[in-house]
């Protein structure tokens, strides 16, 4: 059965108030095409979980779609901070849960495995863990039943929908990811529905099974989204776009009308990712 779907119908299937997860990391493999579609569709009250925040995180928060964020921090690397995210947190427009990278990845791992919880030694004794309430449904401090040692206990995390940008996917949803995978596999395995944005679509059987990073049984939909991570990088395919990221970082830092004008020009005034690529200087990848 082909799982091919359109970007628009996949974005439309995300309901207001739902819990989504993004696979991007700073300036690489950000799910820009879907972040734009959600901002354009004026989705509201979303919970966003993302191991390390990046361009897609800042867009979705800056676009007003998010009310709750679970992440371990993030940036646009040397292009700048996640200014829209930071502003929204400082102005109490969103509630943020801050983790370490490993702790949030472990929550997703536990979600994918169906574990009741997962213990770790990370975050203990820090203000990260202190900021979770004693009766938090996400992170608590407990003791190892075998040794009595203090451990952090992490609840499993199961987003409603995860969006991950991959290199090649077949029509069933088997997918390859070139380069490092940070928390993308754990995110894909944890979500109740996983939607892949892919540079290329091939027939089932055309992918070397040794290179599959995300297998079909955990994938709900496959969206053909060439250059879908532009202006962020996909290793081996395209570099980040320095000019556009610089322009975005400046608008995000300025906030207010400058940021609104940026979103108007590059998100609301365009109807598709292909139009955005034409406008912002991206080449559709082959």
């Amino acid at each position: 059965m082909s799982k091919l779907a359109s970007l628009e119908e996949s974005a439309a299937s995300v309901e207001d108030g739902s819990h989504i997860a993004f696979g991007g990391f700073a300036i690489t493999r950000c799910v820009v095409a879907v972040a734009h579609a959600l901002v354009r569709a004026r989705r509201r009250d979303l919970t966003l979980s993302q191991v390390v925040g990046g361009f897609d995180t800042d867009l979705l928060v800056g676009g007003g779609c998010v009310t709750r964020l679970a992440y371990s921090g993030g940036s646009l690397d040397r292009f700048g901070s996640l200014h829209a995210v930071n502003r929204a947190i400082l102005e109490h427009e969103i509630d943020a849960e801050e983790y370490s990278s490993l702790a949030l990845t472990l929550r997703l791992h536990a979600g994918g495995l169906g574990l009741p919880f997962i213990p770790t030694r990370s975050m203990l004794g820090s203000d990260l863990i202190a900021d979770f309430a004693d009766n938090s449904d996400a992170v608590r401090t407990g003791s190892d039943p075998f040794t009595g040692a203090t451990v952090a206990l992490l609840a499993p995390l199961r987003p409603d929908v995860a969006f991950i940008h991959v290199d090649v996917a077949d029509e069933a949803g088997n997918a390859t990811i070139g380069g490092p995978t940070w928390g993308m596999r754990e995110t894909a395995f944890a979500a109740k529905r996983t939607v892949l944005l892919t540079e290329a679509v091939v027939a089932v059987g055309a992918i070397d099974p040794n290179s599959v990073a995300i297998p079909a049984p955990v994938v709900s939909s496959v969206i053909h989204a060439p250059s879908g991570a532009f202006p962020t990088a996909v290793v081996g395919r395209y570099d980040y776009n320095r000019e556009h990221l610089t322009a975005y970082a400046a608008a995000s830092k300025a906030g207010g009308s400058a940021y609104a004008e940026f979103l108007d020009e590059y998100v609301f005034a365009v109807n598709s990712h292909a139009e955005y690529l034409a406008l912002a200087g991206g080449e559709p990848s082959a």
Partner: protein
């Protein structure tokens, strides 16, 4: 080779903290340059790993961050966060982590999350990422940062990454593994962190120990301080011609 900058000396001093054969988790910038410098000089069997799943890369271009694929060039293995932060770090195989910091306290705990500015407004920074994991779990940690008096605090504003002691007690009692912060390398000095707090070990060439102590507004022992040797011409050449060709981090 011409005179060196304080930040070049900081990188050189940091590289001298690294022993051969270590498995090191690093971030972008000065920590990475220090580790690459060590590998190119006295520690050829050092292995560097990046939290997002890159092992033993050998970048040849200046990168915009750890998410810049230029940082992953020449990697011997690519994998994921569970592999690096889980199996290698949580599994106890990482001997050293190198972190930057907005602020440190006398236990070597670090803030990389948020600072209240002079006008009373808060400014948020990168946050933890893998920094808390590294500080919680690595064999030991080195912090590399500029010697700004505002960065030394009795209590950091936000404790992103735990240090040598936690809540005044031993870190093992809090459930953490590894030694915690062992040293803080700045652009003026090298400071050891032990169970009693901070001790000025060495000052960079031309620095006066008393002046460094005066610019470190927390308890800092300063008996037996030595002056470190200056960078060698080979170290300066490697920094300028191979690891920071744009001068982004060390000029």
């Amino acid at each position: 080779m011409s005179a060196w900058t304080p930040r070049e000396m900081m990188v050189v001093a940091a590289s001298h903290e690294i022993a051969d054969g270590e498995l090191i988790l690093v971030g972008l910038g000065v920590p990475q340059i220090a580790a690459l410098l060590a590998k190119a000089t006295h520690a050829p069997d050092v292995t560097l790993a990046l939290e997002l799943g890159v092992i033993a890369a050998h970048p040849t271009e200046s990168a915009m961050g750890i998410a810049d694929p230029r940082m992953w060039q020449g990697a011997q293995a690519v994998c994921g966060m569970i592999d690096v932060l889980g199996y290698l770090l949580h599994g106890g195989r990482v001997t050293m982590g190198i972190l930057g910091a907005l602020e440190v306290d006398t236990a070597g705990s670090a803030n990389s999350s948020v600072i209240t500015q002079n006008d009373g407004t808060k400014r948020r920074f990168t946050g933890s990422g893998g920094a808390n994991d590294i500080a919680s779990l690595a064999g030991r940690v080195m912090i590399v940062m500029s010697h700004d008096p505002r960065k030394f605090r009795d209590r950091v504003e936000f404790l992103t990454s735990p240090g040598r002691r936690v809540n005044g007690g031993p870190r093992a009692a809090a459930g953490l593994s590894g030694l915690g912060t062992a040293s803080i390398v700045t652009d003026r000095a090298v400071i050891d962190v032990d169970d009693d707090g901070l001790r000025l070990r060495s000052v960079h060439p031309g620095e006066d120990a008393a002046a460094v102590v005066a610019d470190t507004p927390v308890a800092l022992r300063s008996d037996g301080v030595v002056e470190a040797p200056p960078p060698s011409s080979n170290e300066l050449r490697l920094i300028r011609e191979e690891f920071d060709t744009q001068g982004w981090y060390t000029s």
